[in-house]
Amino acid sequence: MVSPEEKVTIGTVEDVIVFPWRVKLPARIDTGAAKSSLDARELKVHEDIVEFKLPQKYGGLHLRLPIIDWRHVRTPEGLERRPIVELEICLGSRRFRTIVNLTDRSMVKYPLILGRNFLKENFVVDVKRRRTVKPNCSDTFDEENSKHLRSIH
């Protein structure tokens, strides 16, 4: 197990870059969330593929990704089913492949929530800080690992 000293300390908000589209998003670092989630607008599901848009504020990019699972979420309105997709993000100097729930987060401030599933192995959170690491990952897109990530033109 990695000791806290070896982990990277990050703050409550960090900028990340979503690959391969190189969209920069501010992410809320949230130890209260079991899983990460992404603000997905105009979400449509066609069998095992999900289509959605990022918020206009972050370019409104239209994405089409394979659904790798479903998550049942308890909300005040009842049980909700949310698609889970895999994303490749750059935080600090490292690229991570991680899973995120898709949900309309227009009511909240940050388009991406990074939850415990993401933070666990790699990061320690110091809420006194914010934007402690600049996303700075290499440009080379790993085709082999990421061929199932595609955008719609």
Partner: protein, 178 residues
């Protein structure tokens, strides 16, 4: 010739050392204020920690939530009269009946409703620290933890490592050291 060169190097070394020391000293003085709030000096806690509510001595598991700006407590049968909040803790934690002054209200935005929640002050022991803080009161019966510890508490004292839980058991001295 060999002897001379050795002597020379001996003479030079003390000077080089003291310069090095002076530089190191200067460096420490310069870096000292930077290191003050570093994560290394803060206590590392996990995603869930136990705390003890003072003065009642009730032990509660708390979700450590960097996504929450403020902390909140599960309050059942909540009523507010004349600026006093009356409520009880959930059965699981002894149903303790509490009556505390309301010091403010927090507005909650949500897709379908607007809500105002009373804010009270509580004291609890977390690790070796006695923490006096504000919490919002609401019925949290749908969630797993009776206490959410948000950024208002975490800020000055702790860093969060999600691989762990219960890594800092309450260890405050019996007499509250306010």
């Amino acid at each position: 010739m060999k002897m001379v060169s050795i002597q020379n190097s001996f003479q030079k070394r003390p000077i080089g050392l003291s310069q090095g020391l002076r530089f190191l000293l200067l460096l420490t003085i310069l870096l000292l204020p930077l290191g003050k709030a570093s994560a290394e000096e803060k206590m590392v806690i996990g995603e869930v920690e136990e705390v003890v509510l003072r003065p009642w001595g009730v032990r509660l598991p708390a979700r450590i939530d960097t996504g929450a700006a403020t902390s909140s407590l599960d309050a059942r049968n909540l009523t507010v009269k004349n600026n006093m909040a009356e409520f009880r803790l959930s059965k699981k934690y002894g149903s303790l009946q509490l009556r505390l002054p309301v010091i403010g209200w927090q507005k909650i935005r949500s897709a379908d409703f607007r809500e105002r929640r009373p804010v009270v002050e509580i004291t609890f022991c977390m690790g070796p620290k006695l923490i006096h803080t504000q919490v919002t009161l609401n019925d949290r019966s749908t969630v797993s933890y009776p206490l959410i510890i948000g950024r208002n508490v975490l800020k000055d004292n702790f860093v969060v490592d999600c691989v762990h839980s219960n890594c800092l058991p309450p260890s405050c001295s019996e007499v509250p050291s306010q």
